[in-house]
């Protein structure tokens, strides 16, 4: 466990050694504020729901940009060799990488908290949906990061890792959305597709609902992709 945190800490601090980390933080803060102030003013609802519903789309491009380097960079620079010849298990490596990326992602969400405080200062918002919305963001972000770490362990090319991640996420969001509305499909298939659709699942979070089904769905998605990433990394020892 200690080693997992060691790897996570290195991952997180390294994002701040390069300007990329600050750039992403700045741009995200700017974007979130813009989304927020579009629906902020007298007579408008004192909630973050509109912001959240936009944010969930932003994650599709944002999270892969953070996760793409995790394993790919180790593979391309060769640092994977000293890492994998140190007494750390493949699970510790993957968990460390994922936790490090999640740490950055959670840091990224701090502007949202500041915006919530702005709401608190100017009016009287309902904090319930704000927290469930944030929880949903963390869960969905966690799934995207797990997909990203998995894609990153496929290839030493960060661009490919990015594209593969975006592709898988789009299958889980856009594709399921459009196919779920295709009337020629049997109802069962449409229901299944809607069930998989992450954005549809997120809507309930931003409304203020915590559905056990959604939490289990996102949690098992995270577990599945992290497991696949561990297996991929393990397979490198066998080639």
């Amino acid at each position: 466990m200690q080693k997992t945190f060691t790897i996570a800490k290195r991952e997180l601090t390294c994002l701040f050694y390069s300007p990329i980390g600050y750039l992403v933080l700045g741009l995200f803060g700017l974007g979130v504020s813009w989304l927020f102030f579009r629906s902020f003013g007298p007579g408008k609802a004192a909630w973050l729901r509109d912001t959240f519903d936009w944010l969930i789309w932003l994650l599709i491009l944002l999270t892969p940009a953070i996760s793409m380097r995790s394993i790919s960079e180790e593979l391309s620079s060769g640092t994977i060799e000293p890492l994998m010849t140190a007494p750390v298990s493949d699970l510790q490596v993957i968990m460390g990488k994922w936790l490090g990326a999640m740490g950055f992602f959670i840091l990224l969400l701090t502007p949202v908290l500041i915006l919530a405080l702005v709401l608190e200062w100017t009016s009287n918002p309902d904090w319930g949906p704000i927290f469930t919305g944030l929880l949903g963001l963390v869960l969905v972000g966690g799934l995207y990061m797990a997909i990203g770490v998995f894609a990153s362990s496929i290839t030493e090319n960060q661009i490919i890792a990015f594209i593969v991640t975006v592709f898988i996420i789009c299958v889980l969001t856009l594709a399921t959305y459009f196919l779920g509305r295709e009337s020629s499909f049997p109802t069962g298939v449409r229901q299944a597709l809607n069930y998989i659709n992450i954005n549809a699942r997120y809507e309930n979070f931003s409304k203020g609902l915590i559905e056990i089904g959604s939490v289990v769905y996102l949690g098992s998605g995270i577990t599945l992709f992290l497991f696949l990433a561990v297996k991929l990394l393990e397979s490198k020892r066998w080639r």
């Binding site: 290195r10 390294c14 050694y17 060769g78 640092t79 010849t85 140190a86 750390v88 066998w238």
Partner: protein, 326 residues
């Protein structure tokens, strides 16, 4: 300490390591020598558990590298070829990170890092970013990282590549001092490096062991053992005739160089012909300006045996020079 049995590694259709068997006892420094692409790095990577062997078995201190990898990794300090490091980290920070991966408590880490920075000449660059260091300094960071947890087995893949002669000297001395309590296997394609530090040399080419032994043993097995080179003021033909009659002389090659006769005398196996040669030269009243015994260097041996390997491995077509187009 290190035991390798019939190790074979295929990369797709190419055989990188071909039936390698050797044993390294505790406390020995072994030089792993071979031309580029001989399978040195592959063998070392198998020993560290980074690559699996296609067949065969390797154990380190009784732990199988394949089935007991974590225990093997605790025992070894590995410095990979070209020393990949995190360029954005500071030297000290990187060493602490490595130490944590080996479960070293903070006080021990501080103590070891201080000691190693001092020994590896890193004190001045401790606070510098690794990415800004010179190649030689990066190598030294890699070496310090490999030694950090005081492993009983050290596996160094070309540890002195990219260093200047001064640094090479220091590292060589450092490695020699580590012998005894550490078992060290270091690969290189530079011969003097192992000639001076290693207790034993294993020469591989084309994935096979082509020779092994102490540097002295290897030197002795060099064909032709040694020869005597002399320069006298005389006619080459006369020198040739006279020297051939000296007992123990096998062959003489004499030629004129700027009015002097330069002769190379090859003695029969195991004979020292310097004394009879000197007597003969004196008797003929030739002025001698040089008479020296040339021992074959390990270098010649290395070139001879690895070259032979390459020639015998190459297909016939490659051996013939291509006809030059008119």
């Amino acid at each position: 300490m290190i035991d390798v049995q019939r190790l074979v590694k295929w990369y797709g259709p190419t055989k990188a390591v071909d039936d390698l068997t050797f044993h390294i006892p505790k406390g020995q420094i072994v030089g792993f020598l071979g031309p580029n692409g001989a399978g040195k790095s592959t063998t070392l990577r198998i020993l560290t558990g980074y690559l699996p062997p296609t067949s065969g078995r390797a154990t380190i201190d009784g732990h199988d590298v394949l089935t007991d990898s974590l225990n093997v990794r605790r025992k070894i300090g590995y410095m990979p070829e070209s020393t990949p490091l995190y360029g954005e980290m500071r030297v000290e920070e990187y060493l602490h990170y490595r130490g944590k991966l080996y479960d070293m408590p903070r006080t021990l880490r501080n103590q070891r890092i201080d000691m190693l920075c001092d020994r590896c000449g890193l004190t001045k660059v401790r606070r510098r970013t690794i990415g800004h260091l010179s190649k030689g300094n990066r190598q030294r960071v890699g070496l310090a990282a490999a030694l950090l947890h005081d492993p009983p087995v050290l596996i160094l893949d070309e540890p002195t590549a990219g260093m200047d002669p001064n640094q090479i000297g220091h590292v060589r001395q450092f490695i020699s001092e580590l012998s005894g309590q550490h078992t060290i296997i270091l690969s290189t394609h530079i011969l003097p490096e192992v000639e001076k530090t290693a207790d034993r040399v294993i020469i591989i080419a084309g994935g096979r062991i082509v020779a092994q032994g102490t540097p002295d043993e290897l030197r002795k097995s060099v064909a032709g053992q040694g020869r005597v080179v002399l320069e006298v003021k005389a006619e080459p033909a006369a020198v040739n005739n006279v020297l051939r009659q000296v007992p123990g002389v096998n062959e003489v090659e004499a030629r004129a160089v700027n009015g002097w006769c330069h002769a190379v005398v090859t003695p029969a196996a195991g004979k020292d012909v310097r004394e009879p040669l000197a007597t003969t030269l004196h008797r003929n009243n030739w002025i001698v300006r040089e008479l020296r015994h040339e021992t074959a260097s390990l270098e010649q041996f290395f070139v001879q045996i690895t070259d032979h390997q390459r020639v015998s491995a190459a297909p016939a077509a490659e051996r013939e020079p291509e006809p030059t187009p008119v």
